[in-house]
Every structure is written in structure tokens, then in C-alpha cells.
């Protein structure tokens, strides 16, 4: 086996040094009856690199890659162009094959990029502090709700109807253990009325902007209403690139921002691994989940970075920790940080404008198609259209023509009969004019 450096002679010499007669003797604490022969495993034997590559390449060919044709899926995962240098740099051995930076003297590379990441996330979200990432946007949102419950010592979380349904389900799974979760009704294309649900038991209101239907929300009145009742506003962002054009949640009085960072630096990867962004106000710092990197100095006075405030964390606080999280999204944060460093202020704002312009152009184009009605009035790079037929059927029909038209809302909200005809369409810089033309033409044909 090419990955195992020990030779049979090595093994014999080692057994001898240990003073046993065989490797089996080392397993003497394992009940003999629990040891099974290899034949107990209905699995193949070792294979060479060529064979494995051949097998997996064949399986991969059974799917249609997003880049293979016109493609318009979003709703929490976005296809952007990632510069080649990002993927090259994150595959450097020193980043790829290192552990959590528990020995800071030989992990300054990881610690410094984590510090840069925290700064970038704080700047993007308009918040004071950010952690070094959580698993993804949905789990970051659930952690934000739990944090709000701890801060306010109140049980109830109110979720906007525009929150991605998978996020709502994740929050319900986690937060109903310690409290109560109330979902507002979804109002596709219109602001929902979460404010009416806020009461004296409310720990937090969770509002996504742009919401799952693409609608840009004004968070300020919601923040004011929440704060008036002693509740916190949790702002959720699933398309991080939007922060290059839209007002940051921190400047709209959000108390916690939970976001999905995938769209900067990271590919679609069929849903993971992604990277959860988490930012808040300094006064809530000690209630934050997850790792934090802090600046300090070494014994010789040089600036350096360490993991800090770990007394919040499970390996120190055990059952009193703010979260059980240990592994985070290290390498995905690095991809995010490198891509954002490459973009810079100028690049990110250009990218965001470009996405918006392309989405506006496609919305205008589709609005002219008979049987298509654009229902999202204000959007970043994603909007919802009402079709004259069930959206799921239309998507399947277009997939047959090599066009991935978007996400039928019925896939996310199968219980709601009112959303059957709704389709969420996302456009990024990777969609060409020809792609948009192809979508409009195919829709016109399928809907006629």
C-alpha cells in the first residue's frame, strides 16, 4: 500500500523491540470475539491511484457540472469565479496539512490569516468583532440564536419568513432544545411582518437580507422594534458578495451577523464544506461561540498571534462552554481571506455591481417572456419569478435542454401550496449574455 512506509521487516523488528510475538498481541484488550476477519467486510481490496482516479472520474461524469451550461441556482450557494491563485495557495502543504494552531510559535501562518479573516469579516459586516468561522451559514445562524438566548435570558426566537427554510429548520432543531422558535409566514417578494411577533419573551428576531426570495430588506425598523422590547436583531446574509454593494448589517443596528461565506473563495461543492461568518458587538464578546485569534507579543517582544479567550470553549470549559464547536472551517476561511485580499475594496465593489447589473438585465429580459412575472422589486443578484406553470416541472424540462434554470421554491417549502409556481433565479459574473438569452428563450418555449 503506497501510503504505508513500514516494511514487513520493520514490523518484525518493532514487534521484537516491544517484546511481543505479533501485532495481534497488542490488541489483547480487545475481546477476541469482537475481532473479525477481513472477509467480514464486503468491500474491495486496495487499488492503485490510476484505478481509483478512473472509478471516481466515471462517477463524477454522471452529474452535470454547473459550468457545463447556462446555470442560475442560488438560494444560499453561489457560483462565482475564484481566481486560480486561491486554490493554489490553499493547497500549500503548510496550510492544507496543519492542525488547529495549538502551538502558536509554529502556527503563525494560520493564526495571522485567521486574524486577517476576523478583520475582513468585521469590516464587511460593519460589526466590531468576528470569530475565526463556524461550519456554515445555517449553523452560524443557530449559534447566533443560542447566543441571543444566553444574553437576554429569554426563550423565544422569531424567524423571518424570508429566512432560508433550511436555516429555519436548523435553528428549530438546535434552539427548540432551550427555547421556542416562531416562524413568520413567508411573503415572497414582499417584506414579512416579523415586527408584529416581537413580545417581552423575545430573545431575538432573525432576518435575512437579501432574503431567500432575493428581496433586500431594511433592517433598521426591525432593529428598532426589537431593541424597544429588549430583544436582539440577528442579521443573516447568505450571499457575502452582496456586502460589497449593500449597507452592512452592522450599520443597520444588527446585534449579531451570521452569514455564509462560501461565495467568496469557495466553490459550490454540492453544499459543503462552506464557511460560517459570525460577527457581533464587542460587549457580547464573551458570549461568542467558536475560535478567536488575538494579537499579542512573544517573549522577545515581536508581534504575534494566539488563540484566545478559550475559556469560552469546550476544551477548557467542557459542559459550561458557549458552544460544543471544535473543528471550524479553517481552510475555507483561508480561501475566503485570499480571494477577498485579491479583490480588495475596488475588486469587491466592482464584482458586486457587476452581479447586480447582470441580475437587473436578466430580470428585464425575463419580464418580457409571456408567463413570467418578476415578483422581487429590490434585489442584489437573485430574484424570484412567478411562472404560469409549476416551477419544478419547468426546471426539469429545462434541465432536459441543458439549462439549470434556478431553484423551485416548492423544493424549499413543499408544504406551501402558494409557492408552487415560484422560481428563484440567481445571476453572477459567471453567467454570460448567451446563457441569459438561452434561459429566456427556453422559458418562452416551455411556457407557451
Amino acid at each position: 500500500m503506497r501510503y504505508h512506509p513500514l516494511t514487513p521487516d520493520d514490523r518484525l523488528a518493532m514487534i521484537e523491540r516491544i517484546g511481543v510475538t505479533s501485532v495481534d498481541a497488542l490488541f489483547r484488550d480487545v475481546p477476541a470475539s469482537a475481532v473479525v476477519p477481513l472477509s467480514a467486510f464486503d468491500l474491495p481490496d486496495t487499488q492503485g491511484e490510476l484505478e481509483v482516479e478512473r472509478k471516481l472520474t466515471r462517477i463524477a461524469a454522471k452529474s452535470v457540472a454547473a459550468g457545463a451550461g447556462p446555470f442560475f441556482c442560488g438560494a444560499g450557494a453561489y457560483r462565482h469565479h475564484v481566481p486560480a491563485s486561491v486554490d493554489h495557495l490553499i493547497q500549500r502543504s503548510e496550510f492544507l496539512t496543519s492542525y488547529t494552531p495549538y502551538q502558536p510559535e509554529i502556527a503563525q501562518g494560520t493564526l495571522q490569516y485567521m486574524f486577517e479573516f476576523q478583520t475582513q469579516v468585521a469590516l464587511l459586516t460593519g460589526m466590531e468583532v468576528a470569530n475565526a468561522s463556524l461550519y456554515d451559514g445555517s449553523t452560524a445562524t443557530a449559534e447566533a440564536v443560542l447566543m441571543a438566548q444566553r444574553i437576554t435570558r429569554r426563550p423565544k426566537a422569531i424567524l423571518s419568513g424570508g429566512l432560508h427554510p433550511h436555516y429555519s429548520e436548523t435553528v428549530e432543531t438546535m434552539a427548540e432544545l432551550s427555547g421556542q422558535v416562531v416562524r413568520a409566514n413567508a411573503t415572497p417578494g414582499k417584506p414579512d411582518d416579523v415586527i408584529a411577533l416581537i413580545d417581552d419573551k423575545t430573545a431575538c428576531v432573525v432576518v435575512q437580507s437579501p432574503d431567500v426570495f432575493g428581496l433586500i430588506r431594511d433592517l433598521r425598523p426591525i432593529a428598532a422594534a426589537a431593541h424597544a422590547k429588549g430583544a436582539l436583531l440577528i442579521a443573516v446574509v447568505t450571499e457575502a458578495v452582496s456586502l460589497g454593494l449593500l449597507e452592512a448589517p452592522g450599520f443597520q443596528d444588527a446585534d449579531i451577523v451570521a452569514a455564509e461565506g462560501q461565495s467568496i473563495g469557495n466553490g459550490l461543492n454540492f453544499g459543503g464544506p462552506y464557511v460560517g461568518l459570525f460577527a457581533t458587538r464587542e460587549k457580547y464578546l464573551r458570549q461568542m461561540p467558536g475560535r478567536l485569534t488575538g494579537e499579542t507579543a512573544d517573549a522577545a517582544g515581536k508581534r504575534g498571534y494566539v488563540l484566545t479567550l478559550s475559556t469560552r470553549e469546550q476544551h477548557i470549559r467542557r459542559e459550561k462552554a458557549t458552544s460544543n464547536i471544535c473543528t471550524n472551517s479553517g481552510l475555507c476561511t483561508l480561501a475566503f481571506t485570499i480571494h477577498l485580499s485579491l479583490l480588495g475594496e475596488e475588486g469587491l465593489t466592482r464584482l458586486a455591481r457587476l452581479n447586480h447589473v447582470r441580475a437587473c438585465a436578466l430580470a428585464d429580459r425575463l419580464a418580457k417572456v409571456k408567463g413570467v412575472n418578476v415578483i422581487t422589486p429590490a434585489f442584489f443578484n437573485e430574484f424570484t419569478v412567478k411562472l404560469s406553470r409549476p416551477a419544478a416541472e419547468v426546471v426539469e424540462a429545462l434541465a432536459g435542454r441543458g439549462i439549470i434554470a434556478g431553484i423551485p421554491v416548492s423544493r424549499l417549502m413543499p408544504h406551501d401550496p402558494n409557492v408552487r409556481d415560484l422560481l428563484i433565479v440567481a445571476v453572477t459574473e459567471t453567467s454570460t449574455d448567451e446563457d441569459c438569452d438561452a434561459l429566456a428563450k427556453a422559458l418562452a418555449e416551455v411556457l407557451s
Binding site: A60, L96, T97, D218, L246, A299, G330, S341, I404
Partner: protein
């Protein structure tokens, strides 16, 4: 010197630096590197994009009003910056990385290549299911490997890391207990457990009852049985445990647990010791997470991403979270909603958006296909053999609290051999850095004073192990001879000397700020 109750020094001390200072501040290949925010300039970018202008009419009045504050850099500057940062990191690719409990084994690059195939990497999680059949096949194949290797009937694939898998397992148990019409609030956790175990149990709404260990480093069965009762939901056991030992009484433990109406959760962090030889399902386990980033070699990436699928027994399988994967004559299909559940399924909820860590699934499957069942078994045998080789070669000069018998895939030492020398476990670990090694896991498990937990994995040659043993022996001999020069203030040859963690926590600086601007008022 101030220390905590594990004997760990809590301040870095000070040193005199008599070395010749260079003009640049760099030293040969060791470059100092400022923060990215300190090297950029306005207007520059490393990505060429058209400068389109927009009307504000469709932004709902929510256009960003002030600049973000990001620096502008060209591509070569960004590449150099991150290459220079990378050179301040230790890595498995560069040397032995004996972090106990972390399984820092070789990360084959084939796996990286496979995960980047467009048919896996460039797939949207909500693309029509007819267009993602290959991805679903990978998940299905990996499920087969995981259930076969563990001898368990079902597996939940969506948890994103070990601790997330623990949570998934406990929520499954909670749902199973609720379905029986019972309420059970207590979870038994051995004192040697990973910190994630009690943290997860608390997170899932349980109270934690700690079970003491025996003098031979195992769970005290008498205490465990005494604590079992009608309010116990589960026990959480790591096996092999964090002392590097197999819990001999595991079947007895499982029987007692089941007799009390509770479930048996196993922390699978140490599965690398027994994979291909022992099936946890045969031991009476009801749920176990598998850290794909440990046993199945997906890269640790500086702290993630991981993946933590949870295998489940027949009793718990119906309660696995959404989504579920089914295979019928129409092909593979994800069930994402309660409306179309197969008979008997009663999912407790959803762990996260979408369907799990696909990128990690491809890598883990490539690892498994490369190894085969025989290679998986060889890997665990070599991991155990190498750990025992280290234990046998060092226990006369270091102190091994459970060194009388064999260990599993990691060898545990304590600091009693350092007693009276003034040298701590931390000093010893930092001296290893000067010798070119990443230190072992230190001060864990908590049940041993000044713990040093060494996990070499199966990826080291005998020559590499011999060299490591030689260095540790010499260090131990110098320490016990009270030659403290190598230990005082170590490391000497790393990119940084010891860092002041106390100061970092006392006055946290968690982000860069432009120095000459007034800071935002709270």
C-alpha cells in the same frame, strides 16, 4: 513560575536576545510579514473586472454608504503574502506531527484532485436531482463503507465535524427516548472524555454526570453501574479511550446501559486504532460519529473543515435527521422533507443547510478505495504498532502511567519524570519544536498530570520513528539530568518565541484597526 492545576505554566517569561539583528528584520528564508491591511493601497486590485456603474433604483434604498476599508493589492503581492505566511506553519507534509487524539496522517493529493473534479466540486446542492446522480452515488458508496466498517445498519451524513456528529447522535437518542414516551435527562461521561462530549451533552439539553476512572486508565465499571438509572439517557464513551487504551469491559458496559434503558454513544475520534479489525456495531454501540478528517485522512486544513457522519444502530436509525438518501429504480433521491418519508422514518430535524460535507466525502471515499479493506486494517495495525514502539522505546526514560500493558494508537506519558527538575510538560513540548518536531498533545487527557499524548499514525517510516525516539530520549535524559538550557524559554528556533497568551486574553485585540483613526464608539 505561575502554573495552572494541570502544571501548565501560565506566563511566557522573558528572554534576552543576543542574536545579531539583521537590517531588514528578516533572517535568511525567515521573512517577517506584516498584516495584509498594512501592505495594500487604495484603488489597486488583484482581480480584473469591468467597472460597471449602476442605478440605485432596484436596491431598495439600501446601497452601502461608506467604504468597507479593505486594502487593494495586486495578485503577486497577495501570492507572496500568503506564501510567506505559510512558511511560518508546521505541517504533516513537512514532518512528524504526533498530536494525540488528532490522527495527523498523510493526506494523499489524489484525494484533493478528485474532490476538484467538476462533477463533484462544481455542483449546486439544490440543482435538479436528475443532474447530480454522481454526487449522490458518492454519498451512497461512502455510506456503504462506513456502515460496513462499523457493522452498523445506518448512517447520518450531514454533520459537519466531530462535535456536530456528537450533537446529531445525542439528538437522535433524545428523539428515540421521547418516542418511547420517556424523559431522561442525565448523560454519563467519563472524566477522561474529550471536552466536546460534556459540551455537546449540555448543548443538547442534558445534565452531565462524570464517571471516574480506575487506576489502570479505564472507566470504573462499578461507579458506572451505580450511576445508571431510569433518568439516564446515554453514556458517552471514547474507545479506544483518550488514555490510548481499549475499554476491555465495553460489552459489559453496553449490556448494563441497555438494561437500564439507556443508549450507548461512542466518540469515534480514535477509530483509527481498530478500523478494519473491530466493528463497533458488534460491541453494542448505538451511535458513533466518525471524524473523516482523522481516520479517513481528509486534511485538517489548520482547523477544518471536517466531517462527522454518525453511524446508528437499528434502534436509533429511524430518528436520523434530514436529508435522507434513498435508491430506487429511478436512481438516487434525496428526501429533504417530512412529506415523503419512507416507512418508519421519524427524523428529529435538520443539522444544517443542504446535505453535508460533500468535498470531504469525495476525499474520504478516495482514501477508502485506495486502501481497500486490507489497507484500512493495515493502517490501524501500523498505527497501533508504531505507538507501542514509541511507548516501549521511551517508557524507561519518560514516565508512562499505563505503560505496563500495550497501548492502542497513541502512547500516553505524564510529567512525573520531570518532577524536581523545574522543567514542565510545556517546556518539554517547546524544546521539541527546536528539534524540528511538532509537540505531542499536552495537558490532555485531564486525568493525568502534565499529560503528553503521542499519536504517530501509520504514516511514519521506521527510520522516522527511530529518529523521533532518539530525540525524545535525549531530551528526557537532559531534562532528568537537570540540564535546563534546552528547555528554558524554548523554542529558540521557531518563527516566534513563546507568546503571551495571558496578555492576549486580558486585553483582547481581535482585529486590525487603522491606528490614526478614532475607534468606533460602543
Amino acid at each position: 513560575m505561575t502554573m495552572n492545576n494541570q502544571g501548565r505554566p501560565s506566563a511566557p517569561g522573558t528572554i534576552d536576545n543576543h542574536e545579531l539583528a539583521t537590517i531588514s528584520g528578516d533572517r535568511g528564508l525567515d521573512h517577517e510579514e506584516p498584516l495584509i491591511f498594512e501592505i495594500g493601497r487604495d484603488g489597486m486590485t488583484g482581480v480584473d473586472l469591468p467597472n460597471v456603474q449602476i442605478a440605485d433604483t432596484r436596491l431598495g434604498g439600501m446601497r452601502r454608504r461608506q467604504p468597507i476599508g479593505l486594502p487593494g493589492l495586486s495578485e503577486p503581492e497577495v501570492v507572496r503574502h500568503y506564501v510567506r505566511l505559510s512558511r511560518m506553519n508546521y505541517a504533516i507534509d513537512a514532518g512528524l506531527y504526533p498530536l494525540g487524539s488528532c490522527t495527523m496522517k498523510h493526506n494523499p493529493r489524489l484525494n484533493e484532485k478528485m474532490a476538484r473534479l467538476p462533477g463533484f466540486g462544481d455542483l449546486h446542492p439544490m440543482a435538479p436531482q436528475s443532474t447530480v446522480q454522481g454526487a449522490l452515488e458518492v454519498i451512497s458508496e461512502l455510506m456503504k463503507w462506513l456502515t460496513t466498517l462499523t457493522g452498523m445498519p445506518a448512517v447520518a451524513m450531514s454533520p459537519k465535524a466531530g462535535a456536530h456528529g456528537e450533537l446529531c447522535g445525542l439528538l437522535t437518542i433524545r428523539a428515540a427516548i421521547a418516542a418511547r414516551g420517556e424523559t431522561r435527562r442525565r448523560i454519563l461521561v467519563p472524566e477522561s472524555a474529550h471536552g466536546t462530549n460534556p459540551a455537546t451533552a449540555a448543548f443538547a439539553g442534558f445534565t452531565i454526570d462524570e464517571v471516574k476512572g480506575t487506576a489502570d486508565g479505564r472507566v470504573d465499571m462499578i461507579e458506572l453501574e451505580g450511576k445508571l438509572g431510569p433518568d439516564v439517557a446515554a453514556i458517552m464513551l471514547t474507545n479506544p479511550n483518550t488514555c490510548g487504551l481499549f475499554e476491555r469491559d465495553i460489552r459489559h458496559m453496553a449490556d448494563a446501559t441497555h438494561k437500564a434503558g439507556a443508549y450507548f454513544y461512542c466518540d469515534g475520534a480514535n477509530f483509527n486504532a481498530i478500523a478494519g479489525r473491530v466493528r463497533p456495531g458488534d460491541l453494542g454501540i448505538d451511535a458513533m460519529h466518525i471524524n473523516l478528517h482523522k481516520t479517513f485522512s481528509t486534511p485538517h486544513g489548520g482547523g477544518g473543515p471536517g466531517a462527522g457522519p454518525v453511524v446508528l444502530s437499528e434502534a436509533l436509525a429511524p430518528f436520523a435527521p434530514l436529508p435522507l438518501l434513498v435508491h430506487d429504480d429511478r436512481g438516487f433521491r434525496l428526501i429533504e422533507d417530512r412529506d415523503e418519508l419512507p416507512a418508519g422514518a421519524r427524523p428529529f430535524g435538520r443539522m444544517s443547510a443542504f446535505h453535508g460535507q460533500m468535498g470531504m466525502f469525495v476525499r474520504a471515499l478516495a482514501y477508502m478505495l485506495s486502501h481497500g479493506r486490507d489497507g484500512v486494517r493495515q493502517a490501524s495495525e501500523d498505527a497501533v504498532l508504531s505507538a507501542n514502539y514509541i511507548l516501549a522505546s521511551l517508557k524507561d526514560v519518560m514516565s508512562a502511567p499505563f505503560g505496563d500493558g500495550p497501548c492502542m494508537h497513541e502512547a500516553l506519558f505524564d510529567d512525573s519524570f520531570l518532577e524536581g527538575t523545574g522543567i514542565t510538560t510545556l517546556d518539554f513540548a517547546k524544546a521539541m519544536i527546536d528539534e524540528g518536531y511538532h509537540p505531542m498533545t499536552m495537558y490532555f487527557p485531564l486525568v493525568v498530570h502534565g499529560a503528553m499524548l503521542i499519536e504517530p499514525t501509520e504514516s511514519e517510516s521506521k527510520e522516522s520513528l527511530d529518529r523521533f525516539i532518539h530525540v525524545l530520549r535525549e531530551l528526557a535524559l537532559e531534562a532528568t539530568a537537570r540540564n535546563t538550557a534546552r528547555f528554558d524559554g524554548a523554542p529558540h528556533y521557531a518563527p516566534r518565541r513563546r507568546l503571551d497568551e495571558t496578555a492576549a486574553a486580558r486585553k483582547p485585540v481581535l482585529r486590525w484597526r487603522q491606528k490614526d483613526l478614532p475607534q468606533a464608539a460602543e
